[in-house]
Amino acid sequence: MRKLIHTAVVCGLVFYMTSFLSINETHAQVAVCGEVVYTMSGSPLQNGIVLIRKNKIEQVGLAAQVSIPGDYKVMSAKVVTPGLIDAHSVVGLSGIYNQAHDQDQLEKSSAIQPELRALDAYNPREKLVEWIRNLGVTTVHTGPAPGALASGQTIIVKTVGGTVNEALLDSIGMVAFTLGQTVGENFRSPGTRSKGVAMIRAEFVKAQDYALKRKAKDPDKRPTRDLELETLLRVLNGQVKALFTVNKATEIMSALRLAKEFKFDLVLDGAAEAYLAMNEIKAAGVPVIIHPTMVRTYGDTRNASFETAQQLEKAGIPIALQSGYEDYVPKTRVVLYEAAIAAANRLPYEKALGAITIDAARIIGVDKRVGSLEQGKDADVVLFDGDPFEYTTHVCGVIVNGSVVSETCK
């Protein structure tokens, strides 16, 4: 308790001293004081401070050990976490209005088009990007919606920026694939699960063949560049991961079989029936970006369970959570809420936080930059006025790349 008072006094005093000095300054220098700071790299700090300088985290430590320079803007909160990461979304491609002009999440002209880039469709000014940012989401792995065998390339963005370049963290996140009922609904072929897998296999074989021909000694015998096959080659060469949206156990097994045959890096997505294939997923060493915990229980996700996250975590399978894709309402889910329901359904508290911070960062390959509060990482921080998972708690501050982008409680 004494420690708590100490922090409050230190933060309060510094705030008083600096509040009228730095009104018009950019907030490149910020000190965030938290009664609890979940750094996600080690135990939570009771009375911790995160110092931010420019766009990076300068120092993280206990209030007793960190001194706040006089010219820093001071912000205080009950709970402080890293900026939240949504491990799979369509935000920025599937817009709030749900009208033809703002629905860029799925191209239906052909079932296999991995060359499509989310980069060329992402709208950083989309209102739903702002919506999730105000609720603490600072990094999003976004791209095409599930529904085509190969629907395109995802990107990883920060939820700020006026252009895609300003938002970009990684221009090719993964290449997205889907197996399941939704593919059959969107295209005349494949009409069956077997056909879908056969079509993907044929395309990978084509890419292997293309690779050989591109290496021909005689330049005239080399085929012209093929963007589709180039993309698949990047998957085969291990440069880009394959994100397979698969919900039924049958489809999960198909994805694992494909990854084994073509030796690509697989990330399972959705995976509503993953609890039926945990041994196989674990043996393959494949991480799972689980469907939104509150996903509707019909169609491909009919057998979804609130406890899948807990079961996979317990089995030692790396997991992350996601907002996923909704074609109606809510037009975007909020990954914080999805983690909350997982936490309420036996996923250990810090694992639930991990699934939307550091563990998500690892699975989407950006953990050197984001996902935890550590010196040198991007200054993405969220301030809460209580337990982040409680419905009645507010997000009272969001910092992205060192800039305070929200200070009102949402």
């Binding site: 817009g95 709030i96 209005y97 749900n98 009208q99 209102k127 739903l128 919506w131 999730i132 029936e273 609890y275 039926l276 509150m294 509707r296 229980t297 019909y298 169609g299 009919r302 057998n303 979804a304 369970s305 609130f306 406890e307 909704e326 109606y328 309402v329 809510p330 037009k331 975007t332 889910r333 909020v334 809420y337 909350a340 329901i341 936490a343 309420a344 359904n345 998972f389 409680e390 419905y391 009645t392 708690t393 507010h394």
Partner: protein
């Protein structure tokens, strides 16, 4: 032949026994002691006692002030929370469908003729603590039919669930109407908002005329106009005996509803009311209660772009009766309490938010003399929770209806409906036609 007779009589005997079991349910009084009780009417009670007998609430109060009735079965609920069974004023559970594509206005349709009482969606609702529900036909119609007010009792037929006595003679629900974009479609549906209102007005004018002819007959069967099912239902609406449940989102559409309600004098509940916060004053002046929804994010359709978490708080401050609804499958019945909690997050008072999933809903459905709060004389419909009703960590542990336990999370057969999993839900509750109808 004899064998068949024997079989038949055994069957009838079983039937008679089960009927007796239904009537004499809960012969012994039950007392639930030690928990925190949210009676909704009145302050919360720490270390409270709830006594129920013959399906009714006998006493609610502090444990020390309430003695166990003789022969009472005692349940220790120390550390738990008891609140009234939740009332969901707008849901699509039960797998029923209402009007078909043949016309935009079909007041003669009854959803009670289409409900599957064995639907797993009812189990889902019980897992969420819902005990009373207004099951509605869809919103893709100006008037999609008569809704059904149900108790989620264990049921073999729809009669076991109804809150009315006789579905052939009684009014067993409200009337579902809609305006805005859902009901604007190709002919015979309206193509514009103005046409939508005109079609509704024309039908009500016709109903006024029918009603006048019935009144003129003065009870003389010779002079009565021939029975018209659609007109009969609308006369009930005109006479204020059947409440209109009106799906409406945009501020101008909401005002159209209030205008129609004023012109024809029908009792109306505004549903969804996404932009209600923009015209709270007008809604309050009209005295129309609101049944609202919370969505995790705005949008998904143009009419819902301006939906706000703050809607409940703003309507509450204007003095309007506010209930939440699930609109299941739009939101999940298992998480109905979450709607109230998100209302509190955005400024609603805790008291009114809890009322919004209980008593306010009961009032809106005209059932508050029976359900919605824990008050002696009311039905013994209640929920036992593991924690505070507005906490994400609180689970519905038991749901009771009229003194009978209808959901028990400690029983794996019930628990699966809380959690989901392999082959738990048939997943047929949301086909595309439902989708068009909902929200």
């Amino acid at each position: 032949m004899i064998r068949q007779k024997l079989f038949t009589s055994v069957f009838f005997l079983l039937f008679a026994l089960s009927a007796i079991a239904l009537v004499s349910a809960q012969e012994k009084p039950y007392i639930f002691r030690g928990g925190t009780i949210y009676p909704i009417e009145g302050d919360s009670i720490r270390n409270g006692s709830l006594v129920v007998h013959h399906g009714k609430i006998i006493a609610v109060g502090n444990a020390e002030s309430i003695a166990a009735p003789p022969g009472a079965v005692s349940f220790d609920v120390t550390g738990k929370v008891i609140m009234p069974g939740l009332v969901d004023t707008h849901s699509h559970i039960g797998g029923g469908d209402g009007a078909d594509q043949s016309a935009a206005l079909q007041p003669e349709i009854r959803i009670l003729d289409a409900i599957d009482v064995r639907s797993d969606t009812f189990k889902k609702a019980l897992a969420g603590g819902i005990t009373t529900v207004n099951v509605m036909p869809g919103s893709g119609y100006l008037m999609s039919g008569q809704t059904a007010y149900l108790k989620l009792r264990r049921a073999n037929s729809i009669n076991d669930m109804l809150l009315c006595t006789d579905p052939i003679t009684d009014i067993c629900g409200g009337m579902k109407m809609a305006n805005g974009t859902n009901s604007i479609r190709n002919a015979p549906f309206p193509g514009t908002r103005a046409k939508s209102a005109a079609m509704v007005r024309q039908l009500f004018v016709k109903a006024q005329d029918y009603r006048a002819r019935v009144q003129a007959a003065g009870g003389n069967p010779e002079k009565l106009p021939k029975r018209e099912l659609d007109m009969e239902a609308l006369v009930q609406v005109l006479e204020g005996k059947r409440t209109v449940h009106f799906h409406t989102h945009r501020h101008d559409d909401i005002l159209t509803v209030l205008r129609l309600s004023k012109e024809f004098g029908f009792r109306v509940v505004l549903h969804h009311v996404s932009e209600g916060w923009k015209i709270a004053k007008e809604i309050a002046e009209a005295g129309a209660p609101c049944s609202i929804i919370v969505l995790d994010s705005p949008g998904g359709k143009l009419e819902a772009v301006d939906i706000r978490y703050e809607n409940g708080a703003i309507l509450e401050k204007a003095g309007i009766t506010v209930a939440y609804h699930t609109d299941d499958w739009i939101t999940d019945s298992r998480l109905f309490l979450r709607s109230a909690a998100l209302g509190v997050r955005a400024g609603m008072s805790r008291q009114k938010a809890l009322e919004a999933v209980t008593l306010a809903g009961a009032k809106i459905l005209g059932l508050d003399s029976r359900v919605g709060s824990l008050k002696p004389g009311k039905d013994a419909d209640f929920v036992i929770l593991s924690g505070h009703p507005l906490s994400v960590y609180a689970h519905v542990e038991e749901t009771w209806i009229e003194g009978t336990k209808v959901f028990d999370r400690s029983n794996p057969e019930d628990r699966k409906y809380s959690v989901g999993g392999y082959e738990v839900f048939r997943g047929d509750a949301a086909d595309d036609s439902d989708k068009e109808g909902a929200e």
